[in-house]
């Protein structure tokens, strides 16, 4: 079966955050606890996530925010000129997924549709997948003691539906489908944009981390959108660091053999 994925065409995103709302709705996600705080005079916690520097109020992905429309708000010094870029971000469902490679208990699995899924009943909350994700996606929730992230709407896609975010997107910026189909669509759109003069337009996710099932069309360099130019899947380096460590161990063993031999055996045995 073809892997399912999403193509996020950021050139037509309007930053409406309908996808974020749809994701919360469908997946039954609560408000992000860190966005609320106690305030004098209020019996309940009130929102405190307004930075005063950005119109973006969720600011990053978390265990309860599986989708995040990133606002790239660029102004010149006197704020007479501005450029706003939007990109709806989520788990990329990498084909070489750092989180999955790191999981010691097989709580993170890949389903037959290619999406990377966290089994809540298996996760032990060791948190090792968190620094292993090159995109900083997967997050820990104190309340469940486990990690959470976008599932690519695992329940929906295994029942013939698309993802909730794609369904809700009013501009078609998020498209759900078979990855090869989406790629054709992305290639065509890239050609179109280049013709229109968007020189820097590029597709992000064909080669990164073994290929991303959720990939992007950006109008500027990936860094501008907060994505690493060349994400390194940590486990790709495992052989080298293991090798160096083994070499150190051998050196120490030889050192011990020499140090304790010196005055120990030489004199006694002919």
């Amino acid at each position: 079966m073809n892997a399912k994925g999403m193509f996020v065409d950021t050139s037509i995103c309007t930053g409406c955050k309908a996808c974020q709302v749809a994701c919360k709705e469908w997946n039954g996600l609560s408000g992000e606890p860190s966005h609320f705080a106690k305030k004098a005079g209020y019996p309940y916690r009130v929102a405190n996530n307004f930075s005063g520097r950005s119109y973006d109020n969720t600011q990053n992905l978390s265990a309860t925010d599986w989708r995040h429309v990133r606002f790239i708000e660029q102004f010149n010094a006197d704020r007479s000129e501005a450029r706003w870029l939007f990109a709806s971000d989520s788990c990329k469902h990498c084909n070489n997924a750092g989180c999955l490679n790191a999981c010691p208990v097989q709580a993170i699995v890949r389903t037959d549709l290619g999406n990377v899924f966290v089994k809540q009943e298996v996760c032990i909350g060791c948190k090792y997948c968190i620094p292993a994700c090159p995109y900083g996606v997967i997050s820990f929730d104190q309340r469940t003691g486990t990690v959470h992230k976008c599932t690519l709407c695992n329940d929906r896609i295994h029942n013939g539906l698309g993802t909730a975010c794609a369904k809700a997107c009013p501009t078609g910026s998020i498209a759900f489908g078979d990855v090869p189909d989406l790629k054709m669509r992305a290639d065509a759109r890239l050609v179109q944009l280049k013709k229109l003069g968007y020189e820097k337009a590029n597709i992000y996710g064909y080669d990164e981390a073994g290929g991303l099932n959720v990939f992007y069309l950006f109008l500027d360099k990936p860094e501008v959108y907060g994505q690493p130019e060349k994400p390194v899947v940590p486990q790709d380096r495992l052989h080298i660091s293991s090798g160096v460590t083994v070499a150190a161990a051998i050196a120490v063993a030889v050192g011990a053999a020499i140090a304790f031999r010196e005055r120990g055996e030489k004199k006694d045995k002919p």
């Binding site: 990053n60 750092g98 490679n101 790191a102 999981c103 010691p104 208990v105 097989q106 699995v109 089994k119 996760c123 032990i124 909350g125 060791c126 948190k127 090792y128 968190i130 620094p131 292993a132 994700c133 090159p134 900083g136 997967i138 820990f140 104190q142 469940t144 003691g145 486990t146 990690v147 860094e223 907060g226 690493p228 130019e229 994400p231 390194v232 940590p234 486990q235 380096r237 495992l238 080298i240 660091s241 293991s242 090798g243 160096v244 460590t245 083994v246 070499a247 150190a248 161990a249 120490v252 063993a253 050192g255 011990a256 140090a259 304790f260 031999r261 005055r263 120990g264 055996e265 006694d268």
Partner: protein, 304 residues
């Protein structure tokens, strides 16, 4: 290029860094002791015995620390038997998974070696433990010393590989050196712990003290060298390790107190003889504290 936005796992230093430290001392002591046993250096049998007496009790503490840091401590057994596929499970691309198995095997071997020492000293009273000892004594002691020694190195080093195998700028930037750093630091702390225990019981023969120092010194110099290489490789990603509280712990605690001061003390005392008991105890305490600071600094700076 490093990840722009990798997230910190929020491991608590008093669980994870402390585990790295205690596990390192135990494993370091054990591999020194078992190597001496394997090579048949009978003259240093007391070193082996001291090592085994240290290794097992220390490693008993570590599962408590590891399990306490889990979000779901009651599920720790999934590490060995996954309720996902419903079978025994290892993930060979995960240092955490392989390391946990290594820790299990190592604990078993260090337990057997510990029993041996107790029997040798005629201190094993519990009948049940006597039975266990008899059962395993059918195998030559060197067999589990060999297995334990291998997994001891593993336990000492995998924690460094585990940190390197992430996308956190400091830990990824210092790749592939933390594993090697933890190996040499486990070696010096293992030797220091042995020296400390023997000196406290006034059982440290001058010959033995000299051998332990002969081993420690090049290892500590190697540790300094690895630190320099690691910082050079990391470049600007090393900044969190050199600034703030982590910087104080790393430069002041690990490098100065943990390496330069002990090396200095040993060289001063060297003129002729090794340090006397009191001196050994102080030097060893510096080495041990320095290695604890090293791990706390690396774990914390990588998460800031």
């Amino acid at each position: 290029m490093m990840a722009l936005e990798s997230q910190a796992p929020h491991w608590e230093w008093y669980y994870i860094a402390l585990y790295f430290f205690i596990g390192g001392v135990s494993a370091g002591a054990y591999f020194i002791g078992s190597l001496i046993e394997l090579l048949g250096y009978e003259k240093h049998r007391e070193v082996s015995k001291a090592a085994y007496r240290i290794a097992f009790p220390l490693i008993c503490i570590t599962p408590v620390l590891l399990i306490a840091d889990l979000g779901r401590p009651e599920r720790f057994w999934h590490l060995f038997f996954s309720n996902g596929p419903g079978s025994i499970y290892t993930n060979h691309t995960s240092p955490l998974s392989v390391g946990t198995w290594a820790l299990l095997v190592y604990s078993g071997m260090s337990f057997l070696s510990f029993l041996n020492v107790q029997v040798e000293d005629g201190r094993l009273a519990l009948p049940a433990l006597k039975k266990v000892h008899e059962m395993f004594s059918r195998l030559p002691h060197k067999v589990y010393a060999a297995i334990g020694s291998f997994f001891g190195f593993f336990v000492a080093g995998y924690t460094g590989v585990l940190l390197n195998t992430t996308a956190r700028p400091l830990w990824a930037g210092t790749d592939p050196w933390i594993g090697a750093l933890f190996i040499v630091s486990a070696a010096s702390t293992g030797a220091a712990a042995i020296a400390l225990v023997m000196a406290r019981r006034q059982a440290l023969a001058p010959d033995t003290a000299r051998s332990l120092q002969t081993f420690e010194q090049p290892v500590m110099i190697a540790e300094l060298a690895i630190i320099v290489v690691m910082l050079a490789v990391a470049g600007r990603y090393a900044v969190p390790l050199l600034t703030g509280l982590s910087g104080v712990l790393f430069l002041g605690g690990a490098v100065l107190l943990g390496l330069l001061v002990p090396l200095g003390r040993q060289f001063m005392a060297r003129a002729g003889t090794a340090e006397r008991d009191g001196g050994v105890i102080i030097t060893s305490a510096f080495i041990l504290a320095g290695s604890a600071f090293l791990r706390i600094a690396l774990v914390q700076a990588g998460q800031s």
